[in-house]
Symmetry: C2
Subunit: 334 residues, 2 copies
DNA sequence: ACAGTTCTTGAAACCGCTGTCAAAGAATAG
DNA sequence: CTATTCTTTGACAGCGGTTTCAAGAACTGT
């Protein structure tokens, strides 16, 4: 348990002042090659690692960016996190995660910790934290949001072409001859959920098909809610030949429900999801879905934040969506 | 962009000295109720949040524990991360993740960052970092490992009853009448993989069945490797009626491979995984697997670390495994 | 009323590192 | 050989907290 060496230790060993050690550490000031070498040698010898906490305090910059997430467990957030990590790589900034568990109190606590740790920037992944609070934070430190909208901070939010994605998805089903297409929606307070539903209705009406309210059930983006929603749908007794789910996780639940009922996919019912999670390649059969790369979103969020930190405009691109046709959709049976 | 208030600001506003402010902040020293109230009021008024970086420097304790993970993306690590977060909750410690991406260099870099940030403890999730290095670190700060073994630091490693778990799984298959049971193993350098394979062979031999090397294929724990391993297995042409995969992710890949070949699960082939990831409830059909709660492991790792930080022995429990029979296993067809 | 305690409190030092500043040393110019 | 400029360096003052220390205030008991 010997104490960690400090700049002073290095200075002593290299016969220079702490200032000089700091200079070779930061590299933004000239120092005589000989002394520099001595310092480097001392660093090597003592296996010295500068204390980032102290540096952060001295510089007033922590070089960490806070990531306010909701859950570490879901595939969805995992990919996002990975993307952020990618985007931050090589920037010198490190991401620190804190989760809100979809609970206001936890979210507030997580945010407090992040802010108390003097994060230099913040990435907000979904959640319910009030827009006003986020706007206030953005006055202190740069902020980017993914998977949510912040009134008045639109250019700090990653936009996903949800409507066009679901339009394509439903259009695809229509092209396959489906006329009775059900929709399992996400949390209605969620912008993504609304937009995806909008794309669904638009595709229907643009094809001259009526929107039947009895074919629309609300879920909450979880597998279980997908399963439940399917039960509700089936219980209503309205005929349908395809289901468009507002996300992949619900599609998984729906898939299981169909299996339980002995309904074959895609022979009896076609199924389309949204997100294209990593796991969707390995469902049985592989899921037709709308890709909105979470990795890419994370990456872009990180890059945008980096730009903000450099006092540039965030310049967030709009994330395009793309229909990935796999094997859960088929031509409707005559 | 107004500056964050500091203790001095509070002190001035409350007409006391910074020391007194600090005293009410830490609460480990008496201060007159009236002054205390004044300080609290000032804190409230200025919306003051003590700078944890500064506190960490002063105290020599960062109150953060580093988590060296390999990937943020996989379900497996996600659950682990969640468990750690749970276990840390309320302790005042915060977890900070850094990933090694299964690459020595990245792992070293991630570890360096964590250590430079003065983490008070470390949880290592898998990875290849050399035992000697980890032992050295453990001399500086407490360390717990999950999903790996560290020579000489056995009581700091979460132990999972892998062998007994796979024994049960294979026993279950044997009980269902299966005699030709294939095994898709994990990375052989991985202790878990070895133990699981050991359980497999033990179950076979204890039932008087021969271990056929041609029924054993090596994978690397990913879905894709599962799919590939199945191809290899099939190409060998040896007959089998069941497959035991060393983890769920490979089982997913195998499941897809079987689907592609038109082999029904469980009618033609029974399939068992290992881990019981969250997603395994929603595969089609739901996967029979061996549960080793990753959440629990994370939780226990965190608790153990907390104990170490309190100078108590880690007292890590052995994680029990339990066969979860779902719908991918069935009696072998006559 | 006085000596002896017990509370409270502010000044000051420190945690480890960085930036500023002025001085010393080296190099160049005249 | 002196004047001038450019390097290189150490001392020092923070960054925002915490803790130690000694002093002043407020009690205590006799």
């Amino acid at each position: 348990m010997s104490k960690q060496p400090t700049v002073s230790d290095i200075a002593r060993l290299a016969h220079v002042s702490p200032s000089t050690v700091s200079r070779v550490l930061t590299g933004n000031s000239r120092v005589h090659p000989a002394k520099s070498a001595a310092v480097l040698a001392a660093i090597e010898q003592l296996n010295f690692r500068p204390n980032l906490t102290a540096r952060a305090l001295a510089l007033g910059k922590s070089m960490v960016i806070g990531i306010l997430t909701q859950s570490m467990m879901s595939q969805f957030y995992g990919e996002l996190a990975q993307g952020i990590e990618d985007g931050l790589a090589g920037s010198g900034y490190q991401g620190v995660f804190a989760s809100g568990h979809w609970e206001s109190l936890d979210e507030q606590a997580a945010l407090d910790i992040l802010l108390a740790r003097q994060v230099d920037g913040l990435i907000v992944l979904g959640g319910y934290h009030p827009d006003t609070a986020l706007r206030a934070i953005n006055k202190q430190i740069p902020l980017i949001a993914v998977g949510r909208h912040i009134e008045g901070l639109e250019d700090h939010c990653i936009r996903v072409e949800n409507a066009s994605g679901s339009f394509q998805a439903v259009r695809h089903l229509i092209d396959l001859g489906h006329r009775r297409i059900a929709h399992i929606g996400g949390i209605p307070s969620h912008l993504d959920a609304c937009e995806r539903q909008r794309g669904y209705t638009e595709a229907l009406t643009s094809a001259g098909l009526a929107v039947d309210e009895r074919l629309i059930v609300e879920g909450n983006f979880t597998e279980q809610s997908g399963l439940l929603a399917l039960e509700t749908l089936l219980a209503r007794g309205s005929h349908f030949t395809a289901i468009f789910a507002a996300n992949d996780q619900m599609a998984y639940g729906i898939r299981l429900g169909l299996y339980r009922r002995g309904l074959r996919v895609p022979d009896d019912i076609s199924l389309v999801g949204f997100d294209d999670l990593l796991g969707s390649v390995y469902t049985t059969p592989p899921l037709t879905t709308v890709r909105q790369s979470m990795l890419e979103q994370g990456r872009q969020a990180a890059r945008g934040l980096l730009r903000l930190l450099a006092n540039e405009p965030p310049a967030l691109p709009s994330i395009t969506t793309e229909l990935v046709i796999r094997e859960t959709t088929a031509r409707v049976r005559g």
